[in-house]
């Protein structure tokens, strides 16, 4: 469901056409009182109010019910108004100290991990005496990064240093920026997300440069004391909190009740470095060649697949990594390293599409850690359907064929999308308006 107010073209169209059989109804719904043929004011009692979440009709007499002219969904309007509530602004005029948070900005956005770390920074600020400011250090291009809402009082945002873009892999330049921040702001803490997106790397580099012994894999941090996960996730280490902290995911709650200034800070000078690591760019990786265990989107084939060339085409068109059930492998239709399951590879995909796989127990074990499972199967009683988040019952060949056409039309840009979004919103309206 979305908060964006949606127009209903059909309603608008009916409202433009006085001869439409539903014209009166629509006018009644949308513009309140109507005059009858005798000039009497007519009210349509059915059009008043809305159905509440518990199924009982509710009449809201507080605001103008007729405000939603032109088919604008009053509910959607209400919600969007709600989302625009101004959060209180948290201001730090003269900070006594700084806490630096170096965000990953993976894909240009603040990840939930980044936000957790910012939340942690505010906890440390609160615990300390004096007024502290959280400096978000963002290196590289940022898109839709709401630093103010995520809790950045101050910002160091650089997209390039001496002509070198900071968006790719350039830890040496980034380290130089951090050193500049260190020398100019001398943050009380340096917080990094302990992540594979660069946070752990940069944090370790800074710690080594500053000869600080960092707190790593930290999941419970306060001003004096930290709890960290040890090797193989088997131990916890209780130790004093240090200056450089690499924080695990969900270490603290993100900021969600205040807005922050996100006031930019200009760095006076950044040391110049000669990088010894050069980023030659991301390598094109054929999704079909990603190892199964790593793949995030798997299209998996079982005994129910008949047309194998079609299956491969769909996988290519969707950009999915191919998987297979044991039977499909045994029958020689797929190579052995594509086998998913307890006897094959345990997969961790975010989306796992099982085509014609009924779901032997070993297979189900192997996909236990998948997020969303989609099943295409003829037999609606099979175990895979019981596990799946979305199941479609039918012949895999036909459905794959349609899927292929959809994927291809998406690629070529000719969206033959039916007005799904509108259909959805009108459905919502039916419940609410």
């Amino acid at each position: 469901m979305t908060d964006i107010p949606r127009r209903d073209p059909r309603t608008e169209w009916i409202l433009r056409n006085r001869l439409h059989p539903q014209y009166d109804e629509m006018v009644a719904v949308n513009s309140g009182p109507v005059r009858g043929p005798t000039g009497l004011l007519r009210k349509n009692p059915h059009a008043v109010g809305f159905i509440g979440p518990n199924g009982i009709k509710r009449i809201d007499r507080s605001a103008g019910l007729t405000g939603g002219a032109g088919g604008l969904s009053s509910r959607a309007k209400g919600r969007s108004a709600q989302a625009e509530v101004e959060l209180p602004m948290h201001r730090v005029e003269q900070p006594d100290f700084y806490v630096a948070v170096v965000v990953d900005l993976a894909g240009g956005r603040l990840s939930s991990h980044d936000k957790d770390v910012l939340g942690q920074a505010h906890q440390l600020v609160k615990a300390a005496e004096g007024e502290g400011a959280v400096v978000a250090v963002a290196l590289g291009e940022a898109r839709e990064a709401n630093f103010d809402k995520a809790g950045a009082d101050r910002m160091v945002h650089l997209t390039e240093v001496y002509g070198q873009s900071l968006t790719g892999y350039c830890p040496e330049h980034k380290l130089a920026v951090l050193e500049a921040v260190e020398s100019e702001l001398a943050p009380r803490y340096w917080l990094f997300p302990d992540s594979v997106h660069g946070g752990a790397d940069l944090g370790s580099r800074l710690a080594a440069r500053l000869s600080e012994r960092p707190v790593v894999h930290a999941w419970q941090v306060d001003a004096d004391h930290s709890v960290c996960r040890g090797g193989s996730q088997l131990t916890d280490w209780h130790r004093p909190t240090a200056r450089v902290i690499l924080l695990a995911e969900e270490c603290a709650l993100p900021i969600d009740e205040t807005r922050h200034e996100a006031k930019p800070i200009e760095l006076a000078s950044i040391p110049k470095v000669t990088p010894r690591i050069e980023d030659l760019g991301q390598v094109e990786v054929d999704p079909s060649k990603i190892a199964l265990g790593e793949a995030e989107f798997i299209l998996s084939a079982g005994n129910g697949v008949r047309d194998w060339s079609q299956f491969h085409e769909v996988a290519t068109a969707l950009g999915a990594t191919e998987g297979a059930s044991r039977v499909a492998v045994d029958d020689g239709n797929m190579p052995r390293f594509r086998q998913v399951g307890a006897t094959g590879t345990w997969v961790t995909a975010r989306v796992y599409v099982a085509v014609g796989i009924s779901g032997a127990i070993q297979h189900m074990q192997g996909i236990g850690r998948c997020d969303k499972v989609v099943a295409i199967n003829l037999d609606d009683g099979c175990d895979m359907i019981k596990r799946a988040d979305l199941s479609v019952i039918g012949n895999s060949q036909g459905i794959l064929g349609e899927l292929l056409r959809l994927a291809e039309s998406r690629q070529s840009g000719t969206e033959l999308e039916s007005p799904k979004a509108t259909a959805e919103s009108t459905e919502e309206d039916r419940h609410v308006a």
Binding site: P214, Q233, T235, V285, K289, A291
Partner: protein
């Protein structure tokens, strides 16, 4: 396991490759074993420099764990014997200064202890070498530069060019370590050289305890209205019985699937 998704590792027997190895532990049984990332580092070293690549271990020399590295087909381990509580970094710095290497490989984190993953960074800082984290492969070494494939999440790769000598940590995405065999493991040499190193005093003050299960974050809904709170409380938990589409054309079914794929962001 994985197919040859990328060209095979570069190989040059003259290259001086050293792998820093530690004793790992099995996540289920806690039993000592070769650490999986370190073993991948050894594998990469073996592929690049054959059996002339060196294995270096600092510490007490746990037999079972270390012998598994020898079982991969290397003749010996340079065992720098030190107290288990000693700081490995100064020992390694000294050793690498005495017997230089072009490429030093190791795992990202240890499987035991604090597992801070700082050793390679500190080595790089003290030796003044560049460090490349999380590599999947080394594709080319020529004219004092190496082309290194860095592993990114979800099977993605980035190509980096780095000057020799350098330190690299090896990601789990690197090729699986070869099987270790009993025979070579038994025969391999593990002659220790006693080195003196200061005990890591700071660490002694820390407390170690078995990992406590971390609380899973609940989906806290800060609802603004009674209706929203009601909805949040009664919403069906995810994953309990999915949606099943029985009727409709193939087209509609395919659209339903496509919608999910787009919503999940796997189809862009």
């Amino acid at each position: 396991m994985s197919p040859d998704s990328f060209p095979n590792s570069f190989s040059n027997p003259d290259l001086k490759v050293a792998s820093l190895i530690s004793v790992g532990q099995h996540p289920k049984s806690g039993r000592a074993r070769r650490a999986s990332q370190d073993a991948r580092a050894v594998e990469l070293g073996l592929k690049m420099a054959g059996s002339s690549s060196r294995l270096i271990h600092v510490g007490g020399g746990d037999e079972t764990g270390l012998r598994q590295y020898l079982g991969m087909g290397l003749p010996e381990i340079t065992l720098l014997e030190a107290d288990g509580r000693a700081d490995a970094v100064p020992i390694l710095v000294r050793h690498l200064k005495e017997q230089p290497a072009d490429i030093v490989l190791t795992g990202i984190h240890a499987e035991r202890g604090e597992a801070s993953g700082m050793v390679p960074y500190l080595l790089a800082e003290y030796l003044g070498w560049p460090i490349v984290p999380r590599i999947a492969d080394i594709q080319k070494v020529e004219e004092g530069f190496a082309e290194v494939l860095q592993a990114l999440p979800r099977g993605q790769r980035r190509l980096l060019r780095v000057s020799l000598p350098f330190i690299a940590t090896v990601d789990n995405a690197a090729p699986d370590a070869r099987q270790y065999a009993f025979g070579p493991a038994r025969r391999g040499l593990m002659d220790g050289v006693a080195v003196d190193a200061p005990v890591d005093e700071t660490r002694l003050e820390w407390q170690e305890s078995p990992a406590k299960p971390r609380p899973k974050r609940l989906n806290v809904v800060k609802a603004k209205s009674a209706a929203d709170r009601f909805k949040a409380a009664t919403a069906k938990p995810q994953g309990q019985g999915g949606k099943v589409i029985r009727d409709g054309t193939d087209r509609e079914k395919a659209e339903a699937i496509m919608e999910l794929l787009i919503a999940e962001g796997v189809v862009r």
